[in-house]
């Protein structure tokens, strides 16, 4: 067995598991359950990221959880995250406001490989809270709009109350550089848009099949159906990327919790090229 011990890594962190303290600079309630935060990391902390990456967020004494970054990289050390209140930790994070400190480790994971998207038409399919991570990709594309072809965004939620980033959605609808469509599953009386699950939006979209790359993020149940309709449309496996939600713990490839088959989601993911993902029997079960 090779003795890798002989070559001690140079840029080893003093303590992989010790969070840095970020300061909350802005917050905004998006829905009853989702709250948006802007975080400034300390200057000394060289914090830069790719769209699709995540951070580990800590409250001391309560715990730590993986949270997707929802912004595009602009100023070093500044990022945004949107957190759904699902348990004690997230409830306590929701109680925080501007000026409060929060523990952050990361960014972790691979994120979207922009090389694969540049010069191509980009089709984004987001279901529910899946819009949170993929918004980082959308913003990245908008910040460098001319490097990409068409930007098609399909977004579906359960009800209109669940729609995230509402003022932004309005802008996307009229944005000349975006082809945007959304649908809700269970419409309330004031909803005048499209009704149905996310796949209802797919048939009517015309795609340049050779030149389109799709990015899909949503709840696991959605993947099967979205994949099926995209493949039926003729998009090839090669042109599809997905981001997986798994319970990450350490974020640094050590604890084993995020593993599906041979792949550590915190290292090889959360973004997967579909041909790779297909090899992981546990991924889309």
């Amino acid at each position: 067995m090779m003795q890798i011990f002989k070559s001690i890594p140079e840029n080893m962190e003093a303590n992989l598991y010790l969070p840095s303290m970020g300061t909350i600079t802005q917050t905004h309630n998006l829905t009853k359950k989702e709250k948006w935060f802007e975080i400034q990391m300390p200057e000394t902390h060289s914090f830069s990221y790719n769209p699709g990456q995540f951070v580990e967020v800590s409250l001391f004494g309560v715990g730590e959880a993986p949270i997707s970054i929802t912004s595009a990289m602009k100023n070093p050390g500044l990022f945004e995250m949107t957190i759904r209140d699902v348990g004690v930790l997230t409830e306590k994070i929701h109680a925080l406001n501007s000026g409060d400190l929060i523990g952050i480790r990361g960014p972790f994971g691979n994120g979207f490989d922009l090389k694969k998207f540049k010069g191509k038409d980009v089709l984004i399919v987001a279901g529910g809270i899946g819009l949170v991570p993929i918004r980082s990709l959308i913003h990245t594309i908008l910040n460098d709009r001319k490097s990409y072809g068409r930007l098609i965004i399909l977004y579906g939620t359960k009800s209109s109350q669940d729609l995230l980033y509402k003022s932004e959605l309005d802008q996307w609808e009229t944005h000349p550089g975006i082809e945007f469509q959304m649908t809700v599953d269970q419409p309330s009386p004031d909803w005048h848009g499209i009704v149905g699950v996310i796949t209802t939006l797919i048939p009517s979209v015309t795609l340049d099949l050779e030149n389109t790359v799709a990015a899909i993020v949503g709840p696991p149940v959605m993947y099967k159906f979205v994949l099926l309709s995209l493949l039926t449309k003729g998009l090839s496996d090669e042109n599809i990327y997905l981001s997986l939600e798994r319970r990450m713990k350490c974020g640094v490839g050590k604890c084993g919790h995020c593993q599906i088959n041979h792949s550590l989601v915190c290292q090889d993911g959360p973004v997967y090229h579909y041909p790779e993902l297909k090899k992981l029997q546990e991924a889309l079960k």
Binding site: E13, Y17, L18, H257, Q259
Partner: protein, 344 residues
Amino acid sequence: MKQIFPLTFMTHNDIPHWISHLQKIENVIAPHKNGINSFSFGKVSDPKCVILNYDRTLSSIKKYFLPPKETLFSFSTDGKETTSSKVEPINAIFLGVHNYDLEAVFRLDHNFLSGHAESQYLTRRQGALFIGVSYTPDEWHFSNSVLKDGEPNHSGGFDLFLHEIEDGYLLETLTESGQNLMKGFPLPEFDGDIPKQQSFNAHIDGGFEKVTDVFSRAWDSPVWESYAEKCVGCGTCNLVCPTCFCFNVEDEVDLDLKTGNRIRTQDGCMLRSFSEVAGGEIFRNQKAARMRHRLYRKFKYISQETGESWCVGCGRCSAYCTAGISIVDIVNDLIHDSNREIGA
């Protein structure tokens, strides 16, 4: 490999004196009796209590580099203060280590020092010296089925190695560090050969090559379910395995509610809660799926990248399985099952 240092000879009576000599250089950690039929590595206080002819220790020496429970850092609950726990290096001579346990340490090195390297592990690991000892395989050992050099007398990677012979031990010096340990303890040279390998009682039919082949199509095998039925899901097999390293992280708060520690504890993929994902769903709820994951981790997932088996054949998971399940039996059944399928 060419012998660079001469072989020397030590009688059984020399051993305690030699250990005392080593203790003057550094702490010595070696196997001791633990209970009635069990052995355990521990710091030597009385050299006469060290046992060199043992079958296996319950825990491997990984417990020194990856403690079962450790504080990663302390905090104040308001988040204003966080302090990394000071990690002390284990400066020690590990005496009486079996070949497979050192191989297991090399695998942990891979997990903890590649990618994001972990300072806690490195700090503990870097001051360790290893003195191996040969052993007589019992009904559970099967190292030569999975390791390239899995023989009980294979001394590669050690600083010094003891070969048990009649009346005493042959001491093989392998590194300069090893040679330095012997300074001031002169021994007679031994004119002869290193004794022959001991043969194993347990075998994987076809060895690791066959294992690699079978694990590429064993996913849907009915064998998983047939063993999972007997398994009670206690997790013992994970905890005793020298190459299992998964852990869980949890915050513990002191009684003043103002301070606390973030703690990691060893975890295991056979435990039901291990694969709990956000929202409470148990991702691998079936014992068969968990057993499959454990064995795929030993025989395929990391192995397909490194070419090495992540099971070192120590036999602990079989010897200590409360339900009497043997890993060799599982693998052999997978092999036979797949042979049947392809009509071989």
